[in-house]
């Protein structure tokens, strides 16, 4: 089971929201769609869900066009909170489950399980509007997958969650993956993307800057982040061969290299054959790569 997005473009009268976008998500994979605000993530989700038509290109699920796909296999968590404000938590979960073709009897086990897992037991009968933002997010998240969808789309699932609840949510996403759910999600928090994603697509103004595995992306940049502890001044480090930029940190310096091949040479220069407390060559973090790709700074 795969989702294939093939040369998809969404054009409005005076601007292009998504431009020639292509990627594939395999069954049971977690795929991250990252990009700045207005990069075209939500438009892409809406086209996948057949809420908006594509201007050009095709989107298929198991080689079937999306408008022919049974919608009950889909789950969707929109970026902004989408629950009935005056409906009780439990009632809400049953409603969305029944809407996706489940019976109340079959849903009971699922509803009880997820309410307990997300620590919402005492909020069962509470109206959604009376819950905290984090709890509303948890209810909405459960509502999006209470029917065990084959394909789940999560638009910014971590926004508004504290670190404890974020971890709770991460574990839930990994749990769904283990059960075979294919997940496509977007997030501004790159550490979450890095931890969860197998593959990703980086969007800028509707166009893809990179599509592939996270490791491929990192390898594309190479191990160009050098962390050292040194007695040299910042200006001296800047003058070393292959060094693009130097940043002082609490614990020494981080150097951005033009190429990871300079590593060996710098090891020789800085260590002079002696013991060095710290010399570490790393890949850039996704956050740093993202900033670089979309035009910001890194390191």
């Amino acid at each position: 089971m795969t989702l294939v997005i093939d040369q998809v473009t969404k054009r409005y009268q005076d601007f292009t929201a998504v431009d020639q976008l292509s990627f594939t998500i395999k069954k049971g994979e977690i795929f991250g769609l990252i990009g700045q605000n207005g990069a075209g993530k939500t438009t892409t989700f809406r086209m996948i869900l057949d809420l908006q038509e594509t201007t050009e290109g095709d989107i298929t699920w198991n080689e079937q066009p999306m408008n022919k796909v049974n919608r009950d296999i889909l789950g969707y968590l929109p970026e902004e909170r989408g629950i009935f404000p005056t409906m009780a938590v439990e009632e809400q979960l049953y409603f969305f489950g029944i809407l996706r073709g489940w019976t109340k009897k079959d849903l009971k086990k699922e509803v009880d399980y997820w309410i307990k897992r997300f620590d919402l037991e005492d909020k069962r009968k509470a109206k959604a509007e009376t819950l905290s933002k984090g709890n509303q997010q948890k209810v909405q998240l459960i509502a999006s997958f209470i029917h065990q969808p084959e394909f789940l789309i999560l638009d910014e699932p971590f926004s508004g969650l504290d670190p404890v609840n974020r971890q709770l949510l991460m574990n839930a996403i990994l749990f769904l993956k283990e059960k075979g759910t294919t997940i496509l999600f977007s997030s501004h928090q790159m550490d979450n993307v890095e931890e969860l994603c197998d593959h990703l697509c980086v969007l800028k103004k509707g166009a893809s800057l990179f599509t592939g595995s996270l490791l491929d992306l990192k390898e594309q940049y190479g191990k160009i982040k050098l962390s050292i502890r040194s007695e040299l001044e910042e200006s001296q480090l800047n003058a070393l061969p292959g060094v693009k930029r130097v940043k002082k940190t609490k614990d020494g310096y981080t150097l951005l290299l033009e190429n990871e091949l300079y590593g060996e040479q710098l090891f020789q220069i800085l260590g002079k054959g002696k013991y060095m407390e710290k010399f570490s060559m790393d890949y850039l973090s996704l956050d740093e790569i993202f900033k670089d790709l979309v035009g910001g700074e890194h390191v």
Partner: protein
């Protein structure tokens, strides 16, 4: 349960359990019952003493047959002089006195009060005095009793004959009165439905859109299913309210005062023609549909529920306009204004039943209005549905025209 019925019943259950709906329904039923049974309520709560009116007759004619006492007025015929009577009025032993005298061969009356009479009482007394005046005038001609009765009781029977074959079924006065009465009822029901249920559907769609739950729903159901479910749910809600209102009224009519009012209502219904009932029901069903379609569309245009009230004002004004034209037509149902509004789809249901019931119009006119209404509902349904699909996920600010422009801009 299908997705359509799940959404329709979800709206229905949610609204019918809401305190505001229960309260407004009870208030509505109470107000309508209050108006229908006002005379009984008034009699039960304000058990007033009958008016005491002294008739001081200075003519040779006996008017005791004309001024007969009833529950509201008690007439006395004292022989004291005017000053004594006026003292009694000042002392509030009498509410009024009527001094009947003769002047130039005609009856002359002077009504003396301390506290002015209420409008209804004054009208009733005046009409009795007018009647007495006629009798007096006839008596002055020295006719026999039979001749006098012939003049006073005479009423010219009027038969309508229309040479236009299509308009031969002229309505009797009773039928026209029944038509006007039923039209007021239909007009009032439609007016209240338009105001309350237009608001319900518009705010419901707007609130789902504003809370973004609509995006989740539309990921699972087609916009057309959602659109139809909203209209159906609200329709059921309106139907429930009207049904409750009718059941309560029928029960009250059957039980209050041993069902005497029910007989009057049954009389009115008997006088209604079959075509009146069929057309009115058809207009009613289609018009509610028409207003709900527009309500759902307008709800989908706004970005948040706070903007819903402002957006539905134009449609509400159509309802209000129809109601005012109906009211203006109660006394003159043949005016050009009434004719024009009876063909406008948004006001047909309020105005055309009045014309069918109270005027002798060609049978093709109600049919043309019905065809226009059906065509408008069909066209508006498809236009709204097409627009709804595009507007439910478009968020914009500004007035209604700006919102429509934005929807067209980002979806074409």
């Amino acid at each position: 349960m299908s997705k359509f019925w799940l959404l329709a019943t979800q709206l229905y259950k949610q609204k019918i359990r809401s305190k505001s709906f229960i309260f407004s329904t009870l208030l509505y039923v109470a107000i309508v019952s209050g108006i229908m049974f006002w005379s009984d309520i008034k009699a039960a709560i304000f058990s007033e003493e009958p008016l005491k009116i002294a008739m001081v007759n200075d003519t040779k004619q006996d008017f005791k047959e004309v001024f007969q006492s009833d529950d509201d007025v008690k007439f006395s015929f004292p022989t004291e002089d005017q000053a004594t009577i006026e003292k009694q009025i000042k002392a509030e032993k009498l509410d009024a006195a009527v001094f009947l005298t003769e002047k130039d061969g005609r009856l002359n009356a002077e009504i003396v009060t301390y506290t002015p009479l209420e409008f209804n009482d004054q009208t009733k007394l005046s009409s009795m005095i007018q009647y007495a005046g006629k009798i007096y005038a006839v008596q002055q001609l020295h006719l026999t009793t039979k001749q006098a009765a012939q003049i006073i009781e005479s009423q010219t029977p009027i038969h309508m004959k229309n040479l236009d074959m299509q308009k031969q079924d002229g309505k009797s006065e009773d039928e026209k009165a029944a038509g006007i009465g039923a039209s007021i009822l239909v007009g009032s029901i439609v007016y209240s439905i338009v105001i309350s249920f237009l608001s319900i559907i518009t705010t419901d769609v707007a609130s789902e859109k504003g809370s973004r739950v609509l995006e989740v729903l539309l990921a699972s159901v087609k916009p057309s299913t959602h659109f139809l479910a909203k209209i159906t749910g609200t329709y059921l809600l309106a139907f429930s309210q009207v049904a409750l209102l009718l059941v309560v009224q029928i029960l009250l009519l059957l039980t209050v005062d041993d069902g005497s009012k029910w007989k009057k209502v049954a009389g009115v219904i008997e006088n209604l023609s079959v075509s009146y009932v069929v057309y009115t029901l058809a207009y009613l069903i289609l018009s509610i549909f028409l207003f709900l379609i527009v309500g759902a569309l307008f709800g989908s245009l706004v970005s948040k529920v706070e903007e819903a009230g402002q957006t539905m004002m134009p449609v509400m004004f159509m309802g209000i306009a129809g109601f005012y034209v109906l009211m203006s037509g109660l006394y003159s149902p043949d005016t050009l204004l009434v004719k024009i509004f009876s063909f406008i789809p948004f006001t047909t249901v309020m105005v055309m039943p009045l014309r069918i019931g109270a005027t002798d119009l060609s049978p093709t006119e109600p049919l043309i209005a019905l065809i226009i209404l059906i065509a408008t509902v069909v066209v508006l349904f498809y236009v709204s549905l097409s627009f709804y699909k595009r507007s439910v996920l478009t968020y914009s600010s500004g007035g209604i025209i700006q919102k429509i422009k934005t929807v067209l801009k980002v979806t074409t």
